[in-house]
Symmetry: C2
Subunit: 365 residues, 2 copies
């Protein structure tokens, strides 16, 4: 009996998500120290002090199950975004928000539309529920909304839009998205994945949560893993109509966000200083990296996120060579971009290390 024959449709074709190489793994493999990781678009500032205090306070109660309903965090998110708590669904990272969404609405006879160079989890989840992926070619590395609309048919259940997009850093203006939503049939769900929302300059940032009343088929997904600096704790959330949230919460497992995650996320929402310092650092350092790439004549894709994607030729070779310099960046051949590397914006010192390592590697070519 080969157990593999018992797996559900789609499972055998799945290849697990490839995360950025952890620092500890590189230490184990190459025996080197003082490693700089710019591979997973993490906040380089370290943990918010408010989050740290909240974690310490919540540690005493860890033998108890978490609040299955995330009462306080939902209340706070609802206030912040002017929705009701019944419109919020919490996830173990926004990855789980997306997973719950697929499991609730997408079945083997559904089609799911997404950009060819968008976040790879859309393709993985489509495969894992046995549905059909409809990847749409990009336009200047960004979403081609007209092209996506043209692929909508009777089987389309979900359209995924990452804005800003990962790994390209491109951005669709709110007006373009709203015009798109107005054209999508009401029986097709649209998830607007705004994991990098906070990095968009305020004057360009859409108040997309205010669209929920007008577009009951809209799902907004956001996260605490990026600008809020809680990647290690796994908290994401969806803002939707109360009807969609009701369905998502039926599929969501209880206790999906753990007690320390809930405590830290609730606290960090108040840490405006931390949030703004991270955004300011990101803008300043993004400009430095852009200048560096220009000087070295390396084409890059202008990015509104906390990372920048640059064309380097044989990206895998450059990636490997950088590892030997103690610098971890992200190869994105899995996104159909074998000539690009994605580089997270780190601290000033980390970015300096990256540029120095890059110079060494470029000189070796």
């Amino acid at each position: 009996m080969d157990i593999k024959t018992l797996a559900n449709r789609g499972v055998l074709g799945l290849h697990p998500y490839q995360p950025g190489k952890p620092v500890e793994e590189l230490e184990r493999e190459l025996g080197i120290q003082d490693i700089v990781k710019l591979a997973s678009n993490e906040n380089p500032l370290g943990l918010s002090p408010l989050a740290k205090t909240a974690i310490e306070a919540a540690t005493a109660e860890l033998t108890r199950y978490p609040d299955a309903n995330g009462f306080y965090l939902k209340q706070k998110l609802a206030e912040r975004w002017q929705v009701t708590a019944e419109q919020v669904t919490l996830g173990n990272g926004s990855n789980e928000v997306l997973e719950i969404l697929f499991r609730t609405f997408v079945s083997p006879d559904s089609e799911v539309i997404f950009d060819k160079h968008a976040f790879i989890v859309y393709a993985l989840l489509t495969q894992s529920v046995g549905a059909t992926a409809v990847p749409v070619a990009s336009k200047a590395w960004g979403h081609d909304l007209e092209g996506m609309l043209a692929r909508v048919n009777d089987k389309t259940r979900l359209i995924c839009i990452a804005n800003p997009n990962n790994p390209t850093g491109t951005y669709l203006q709110p007006e373009a998205i709203e015009a798109f939503l107005a054209k999508v049939p009401s029986n097709v769900l649209v998830v607007l994945d705004e994991a990098y929302y906070e990095y968009v300059k305020p004057e360009q940032r859409g108040e997309t949560h205010q669209w929920l009343n007008r577009y009951p088929n809209l799902i907004i997904s956001r996260t605490f893993s990026k600008a809020y600096g809680l990647a290690g704790l796994r908290v994401g959330y969806a803002l939707t109509s109360a009807d969609i949230a009701d369905l998502l919460n039926r599929v969501r497992e209880p206790f999906n966000c753990n007690s320390l995650a809930l405590a830290a996320a609730t606290a960090v929402l108040d840490d405006t200083q931390y949030l703004e310092a991270g955004i300011a650092l990101n803008q300043k350092e993004m400009a430095r990296l852009e200048s560096y790439f220009k000087e070295r004549a390396l084409p890059y894709i202008p990015s509104v996120g906390n990372f920048i994607t640059v064309e380097v030729g044989d990206a895998n070779a450059i990636y490997q060579a950088l590892l030997h310099q103690g610098v971890i960046v992200r190869p994105i051949a899995g996104y159909g971009m074998p000539n690009h590397l994605r580089v997270s914006i780190g601290t000033e010192a980390e970015n300096t290390r990256f540029m120095a390592a890059m110079d060494v590697v470029l000189a070796q070519r």
Copy 2:
């Protein structure tokens, strides 16, 4: 457009899991303090000091994503249970282990067999993947293995066995389970849910992980939420063949266990003193509660877990009356047991509070 019509088969029939009432919720609702919660089979001893230290040490790195592969925890579990790390799958609580299992192997044309009074999550997950539930009547509140075998047919994909069972506390001897496994067709998976494994007396505890080589269709599920006192952090795991683990890990989302959960679980495995103190307390206090129920002529189901289920007549009325005394226990009408209450074994003081409250409530009848 009614969005509910877009939900997958099974979703509309789902009712979310009803957790034990949180202490804070009762405080909010009744405005009372000094509440005793004996509703969720949590470890009453408070957090292991080794876990606490590990959490403090790991907090500094929380802006980083967790180790997606749980390298150190898997290594340690593999050593402990004499399996390889490739046979371990980590879950966000054993609830997620079960969820991954269902999503990997159970489809809408599958049947899933479980005991009528077993852990309710089996029924919820069966419903959520749109499969058919085959509940089997219990024998003296425990699993009827012969009865379960008799229901196996061509559509059977999974049999769930909770041992010890929750909420009844009954226990199947290892020999009985192994004889059962020998009769189950090799294309039918059997999950042995051992969430309460550590509370079984050592001389009765089966070395079930040693069966994995003989029964490639066996899945053992265990947790850190009970005897290890980490319910708030959500860590469970499956021990299986490497083939099954490979499939489960394709479906598992990356980073499903967060960094503090991984750190605490890895540390607490070394805290033998904590584990044994909890088990000793449980045995001593279980005996006190049994005596109490005997004195009050309340029939109870003998339990090998860290909880005891007692017949009280109109259980919901007694549950509500206990709430007003500041004591939270668990009504289990949802398990088809409307006359029973499940009471977790607490500290000596907590159990004394429960018994005093129970006396007040019984006198009111």
